[in-house]
């Protein structure tokens, strides 16, 4: 710290040139930071989109297909929640389906009932049971991660239900605490409530919870099994295997053939492009930064000679020259990251990122942004160190007497 005043004084000595150096570092930092930010946001967006597409296959009672227009597979729908129905089957078959080749996951869903709660929703609220341990279709839609896992006495609610986390909701005389709220899905899910399966069975057995004419819901009965196919596997083949297995149990498979692949493919090249740009900027900027460092050392050779005459050792000269570069680099990195973050926030706020990247851009988390900023700072510091080490060394080894007599500073 005792050298700080001297280092700051050195920076103030040539404000124009040092401002240019800071700007140079800032541009490099902004380029690096923006690249990482966009790549992370884009990858996150595609991942989130894929996760929110839900299941690849839906295992349902054969009668269920009557509920669908043009029964059978649907090329466009996302399979997130089963449609409300009283067609059920025993969930034991789902355990067997889970062992079928190329099945990556199976999760059961049960439609319990529909209730009317005018204070919370203008539409009837569909109540579902899901298995929190195996669910992979509802959870990706949560607005925020759950503080505690979905369990007894807690529920998740759709976006159109007028309540929030930690509020309570009463269904058939039972009170549940809202653990999480889903993003808007533009589907029936927006006015649905999701309970853990045990709570769903308990609710189903309560007096008056389901219409008297509907078939009773026994423990183990489910309306659907949502199936995730292993990445890269042939969905048709998996569908065929499950159909063979399920025919005896009178269940059938509905397939989804829509995917985010085209968008993902469109975006596939973006990280490569951004990384290439960053590499080019780094390579092009390195000699420039080195030149600035060499200029600084050259301009100040008389001053350095004076410092040597006052007793500065060579390591101290190396330290002082490099420290100045590092301070400039640090300032530049901070300015570049700050400006980049501000600009990206504005672009996101006006929807530019969504339209430019054709995805619902996912803003990286604070932790991710911190990591990107730290990595950017490290790269800039490394660059400043590498570019200034030789000029600093040259400054320390030059003839102090000649420097004092001939230097211009």
């Amino acid at each position: 710290m005792k050298y700080l005043a001297y280092i700051v004084a050195g920076i103030r000595n040539k404000p124009g040139r040092n401002l240019a150096a800071v700007l140079c570092f800032a541009l490099i930092a902004a380029n690096l930071f923006t690249g990482q930010y966009l790549i992370a946001g884009e990858v996150g967006s595609v991942d989130q989109g894929v996760n929110r597409m839900g299941a690849d296959l839906l295992v349902v009672p054969s009668e269920y297909t009557q509920l669908l227009p043009g029964a059978g597979s649907d090329d466009t729908m996302a399979i997130v929640a089963v449609l409300p129905s009283t067609y059920r089957f025993d969930s034991d078959i789902l355990d067997e389906i889970g062992t079928v080749q190329d099945v990556a996951g199976v999760s059961a869903q049960l439609f319990v009932t529909a209730v009317s709660i005018p204070d919370l929703s203008s539409s009837p609220i569909n109540v579902y049971g899901i298995n929190p341990e195996t669910d992979f279709t509802i959870r990706p839609w949560l607005q925020d991660p759950l503080d505690t896992p979905l369990g007894t006495g807690t529920v998740l609610i759709g976006r159109d239900i007028q309540a929030g986390v930690q509020d309570t909701i009463s269904i058939a005389g039972r009170t549940y605490t809202i653990a999480g709220v889903l993003d808007r899905t533009q589907s029936e899910m927006d006015h649905a409530v999701f309970l853990a399966m045990d709570d769903a069975y308990a609710l189903a057995s309560a007096e008056g919870s389901i219409p008297p004419d509907d078939p009773r819901i026994g423990v183990g009965g489910v309306n659907a099994g949502l199936v995730r196919v292993a990445p890269g596997a042939d969905r048709d083949a998996v569908e065929s295997r499950i159909n063979q297995l399920g025919s005896a149990a009178n269940v059938t498979v509905i397939g989804r053939h829509f995917s985010l692949d085209p968008i993902a493919q469109n975006l596939q090249g973006l990280p490569g492009i951004l990384n290439t740009i960053s590499a080019i900027v780094l390579i092009a900027a390195f000699p420039l930064i080195a030149l600035i460092s060499a200029m600084v050392a050259h301009e100040r050779r008389r001053e350095i000679g004076l410092l040597r005459s006052m007793g500065a050792t060579r390591p101290i000269i190396v330290f002082l020259v490099m420290a100045e570069s590092l301070v400039l680099a640090g300032l530049g990195a901070a300015a570049g990251i700050g400006a980049s973050l501000a600009l990206l926030s504005v672009l996101d706020a006006i929807g530019f990122l969504n339209s430019a990247l054709q995805v619902s851009f996912r803003i990286p988390s604070v932790a991710e942004i911190g990591v990107f900023a730290g990595m950017t700072l490290l790269v800039i510091i490394a660059m400043a160190t590498l570019s200034s080490v030789y000029p600093a060394y040259r400054s320390s080894t030059m003839n102090a007497f000649d420097a004092i007599r001939q230097g211009s500073g």
Partner: protein, 186 residues
């Protein structure tokens, strides 16, 4: 050469009995910070540091009893610029800058002061004050090697050398006893 900035091609230079030619670069630097003060022909002040900060620069490199801020202020007072301690060199006259440079050279209490035309930019009164200061420092034990073109300053010197076509020749008839300033005339 006396300060170890240039290595002699032959002969030896001893400071406090130590052959500085045998020292490593870092050891010579340390010796300079501890034992030698410089006053150059130009002031050599750093324009973005105040006068006080400039005076304190050599303390950055001193491992020994570094001069304190109070000592820096005392030296600035001694050279008659206490009211200008917090001003930047750009607002000082060339004479004032030279006086700050002298204060800087003295901050680490060196045993040897090397001064190149230290009074070159000063008016007569200030010149006399500085030379009186040098005389006092010398009497306190500091060796002062001064280069000057001003023949009027000969009266302050105890030994005088003249540089003539690269040869240093001692001028006789000045010695007045005990350790006194040495003036080099070229």
């Amino acid at each position: 050469m006396l300060a170890g900035l240039i290595r002699p091609s032959s002969g030896t230079i001893r400071i406090r009995g130590m052959d500085i030619g045998s020292l490593s670069d870092d050891d010579i630097s340390e010796l300079r910070s501890r034992e030698i003060g410089f006053v150059f022909q130009f002031s050599g002040l750093l324009p973005t540091l105040t006068a006080l900060q400039n005076v304190m620069v050599p303390t950055l490199f001193s491992k020994g009893e570094a001069g304190t801020r109070a000592r820096a202020m005392e030296l600035i007072r001694t050279v008659g610029l206490s009211e200008r301690a917090d001003t930047y060199p750009g607002t000082l006259s060339s004479g004032e800058m030279k006086r700050i440079a002298i204060a800087r050279a003295l901050i680490n209490s060196p045993s040897l002061l090397i001064a190149d035309e230290p009074t070159g930019d000063l008016d007569v009164d200030t010149e006399n004050e500085i030379m009186q200061l040098f005389r006092q420092l010398n009497r306190e034990g500091m060796t002062i090697v001064m280069v000057t073109h001003n023949p009027d300053l000969v009266e302050y010197a105890t030994r005088m050398f003249r540089m003539d076509r690269g040869r240093l020749e001692e001028q006789t008839g000045l010695h007045s006893g005990a350790p006194l300033p040495v003036s080099l005339s070229r």
